[in-house]
């Protein structure tokens, strides 16, 4: 869980707090523009919407994670709360042996709370590239906030047939710190939502592929409810994050995101 430097990083997606968010928050009503199918979309508007996917004054969700490994498959159920882009709390609900384990993000800091030993441990910077909860996303994915519009140079590269959609290439600006050299997004011509993202490392090798599926309308937002992350060169591994329930713009108490509260609650 904490040690394997896998190939993922958060530049590409403001995951987990934001996986909670990114995957599902998207969806600006009315974006489903027929014109997208006929003529190339404006890249800026696609990226603005991608960045806005993360934004909610308060988000509450329930999620199921399926972590597939060559010899085992593990399923976890999580509850998460987030506020803006800086604060998030994720608590494991099941399996019972992991229940109560929590991850708290405040700004660039990440803590793990272990109920069995009643300890809260800050994840050190040296372990930010380590796997989060044994999945195929990294601790850094959870912590990092990246604006695709501001942090990357971008261009529409054309129509993609597999999967069908508009392909946009993002190249990290020289001063951007992170794992990714380049990200390729394919946006649905129907909804303007991402359907696929390919992340290329600093040597420009394909490092992971993210699939965005099961688009549903929740609370008047249309969002993909299943995100699958497939790491490259690691046969038999993948992680799926499926939102079972999500609420946007709900009241979330600031006090939830404090260490003392975290330890008191358990």
């Amino acid at each position: 869980m904490y040690w394997k430097n896998n190939t993922m990083n958060g530049n590409s997606i403001r995951c987990i707090t934001s996986v909670v968010t990114i995957l599902f928050l998207a969806c600006i009503p009315g974006f489903s523009d027929e014109s997208l199918k006929r003529e190339p979309p404006e890249v800026e508007s696609l990226l603005d919407r991608l960045d806005e996917l993360y934004e909610s004054s308060g988000t509450r969700s329930t999620m199921e994670i399926v972590i597939v490994r060559p010899r085992k498959t593990r399923t976890m159920e999580l509850k998460s709360w987030s506020k803006g882009q800086d604060k998030a709390l994720i608590i494991v609900q099941s399996p019972p042996r992991d229940a109560g384990t929590a991850t708290l993000k405040v700004g660039d800091n990440l803590w793990n709370y272990l109920p069995k030993i009643s300890r809260t441990i800050r994840v050190p910077p040296s372990m930010m590239m380590g796997s989060w909860m044994g999945s195929d996303i990294t601790n850094d994915d959870i912590v990092r906030d990246t604006s695709y519009r501001d942090d990357y140079d971008y261009r529409l590269t054309g129509w993609s047939d597999d999967p069908p959609g508009w392909s946009v290439e993002l190249v990290a600006k020289p001063d951007l710190v992170g794992l990714w050299n380049r990200v390729e997004f394919i946006f649905s011509p129907d909804t303007g939502l991402p359907v696929l993202a390919r992340h290329f490392d600093r040597k420009d090798r394909l490092s992971r592929t993210m699939k965005f599926e099961n688009v549903k309308t929740i609370d008047s937002r249309t969002v993909p409810t299943l995100v699958t992350i497939i790491p490259e060169r690691e046969e038999g591994k993948q992680s799926s994050f499926e939102y079972k329930d999500i609420e946007f713009d709900v009241e979330v108490d600031d006090g939830m995101f404090s260490l003392s509260q975290l330890e008191r609650k358990h």
């Binding site: 869980m1 904490y2 040690w3 394997k4 972590i67 490994r69 010899r71 085992k72 593990r74 494991v92 399996p95 042996r97 992991d98 384990t101 803590w111 793990n112 272990l114 069995k116 030993i117 300890r119 809260t120 441990i121 800050r122 994840v123 050190p124 040296s126 372990m127 909860m133 044994g134 260490l259």
Partner: protein
């Protein structure tokens, strides 16, 4: 008879210009001494590297799941480790066998975490000379969630004896493993991984922490004779219970480090080559000077009917005598110096003014400033043979010159 008199003349000729003979003998002796000295130090380092490789950490043979070396994943375990250990120990060539568990973990004394490596071992099986706890097991009992921690790791992260460590990792099922452990002591280990990131606990504690049964990630075997690694590995692999596992000898486990050690021989021969070049120059020069000084004498001998072949033998014997005397002196001093230093060793750190020796680790190799010179008979023989051959080669030019001498011209000149 002729050879005897030739030998006598050669010996007498060497005494004619004693200063030049002493200089040539000294050059050869220093050359042999340099070769033996470098060989002894190189062997000392090679032995140190080899012990570091096949000692407590790698062993002579390892058993694990076929994917273990690539993935190092906690769940790649050998089930029924106790039964497998019994099979391994029953082999006549096996001296020790022990099961180990490795689990990278997040470690915390208080809130801030840092990376560590949990190593689960059986203290009884690791107390032998090649074990991880060699010499330490009596004073550092493991078990009941007591752990020992490597010195460098402890110093870097502020860990002290008696502290409580929180460990978080991933168990055999992929779930979160976490527990609290007490630091029984901070140890200096010959194994780099233990020193720099090791948290050593008993097998039982590691299994409890990682929810394992009778599992182990690795079985380390030490043999009576390390050169038997391949046949013993093949024997073990023929056992149906072990057939599905990967069983490898040290040559297969650390081939790149083996190459590094083999480079010692290359380095040794480079030095020998340089010594031989210097010897060629010294001997050829001595013989040429000696020949020109005696050119009239050679002319006289040839005019009296002396066979040019006898003159060639004379030069050859003179050169060989020079080389032999130099080799005896050089070898004697070399063997003496190595004998004097082989027990106590040579500490470069102390020679450089440091108060204590130091150790550095590179790719699992522990390298020390303290080296124990070690000379083999083959090194001495190789040195002698190479320099003697060099002496013979060095006489080719003077011999060719002598056998082509025209006696009348030489006498007249």
């Amino acid at each position: 008879m002729a050879l005897q008199s030739t030998f006598r003349i050669a010996r007498r000729n060497l005494g004619r210009n004693l200063r030049r003979t002493i200089l040539a003998v000294t050059a050869i002796a220093v050359g042999q001494l340099a070769f033996l000295g470098v060989s002894a130090l190189m062997h000392g380092y090679a032995n140190q590297y080899f012990d570091s490789i096949t000692g407590p950490f790698v062993g002579h043979i390892q058993i694990h799941q076929p994917e273990w070396r690539d993935e190092r994943s906690v769940d790649l375990t050998i089930p029924n480790a106790t039964e497998i250990l019994e099979i391994v120990r029953a082999h006549d060539d096996v001296r020790n066998a022990s099961a180990r568990i490795y689990a990278p973990s997040l470690v915390a004394v208080e809130h801030d975490g840092f990376m560590g490596m949990v190593m689960g071992i059986d203290p009884r099986d690791e107390s032998h000379d090649d074990g991880l706890l060699s010499g330490l097991e009596q004073t550092h009992p493991l078990g009941e969630r007591r752990v020992v921690v490597g010195r460098i790791f402890a110093d870097k992260n502020g860990i002290e004896k008696g502290m409580e460590l929180a460990l978080v990792g991933q168990d055999i099922d992929g779930s979160i493993a976490n527990n609290l452990f007490t630091v029984a002591d901070v140890i200096n280990s010959p194994v780099a991984m233990v020193n720099t990131m090791g948290i050593v606990m008993s097998l039982e504690d590691a299994r409890d922490y990682l929810r394992m049964d009778d599992d182990a990630n690795e079985i380390i075997i030490h043999l009576e004779d390390k050169e038997m690694a391949s046949p013993v590995a093949a024997d073990l692999l023929s056992d149906p219970i072990l057939a599905h596992l990967e069983i490898l000898g040290w040559r297969d486990l650390v081939p790149h480090l083996l190459t590094m050690i083999e480079f010692v021989d290359v380095y040794k021969f480079i030095v020998l080559f340089i010594v031989c070049i210097a010897a060629i120059a010294g001997i050829a020069n001595t013989m040429m000077m000696s020949m020109f000084e005696r050119i009239h004498e050679f002319g006289m001998l040839l005019s009296l009917g002396c066979n040019p072949g006898r003159l060639a033998r004379l030069i050859l014997i003179e050169a060989s005598l020079l080389a032999l005397i130099g080799l005896i002196i050089g070898s004697g001093i070399g063997i003496g110096l190595v004998t004097l230093t082989s027990d106590q060793g040579i500490d470069y750190a102390r020679m450089g003014g440091n108060e204590s020796s130091f150790e550095v680790a590179f790719q699992g190799l522990q390298m020390s400033s303290h080296v124990y010179p070690n000379l083999t008979t083959s090194d001495i023989l190789i040195g002698i043979a190479a320099i003697l051959l060099t002496a013979i080669i060095a006489t080719i030019w003077p011999i060719l010159h002598v056998i082509h001498l025209e006696p009348v011209e030489v006498m007249r000149s």
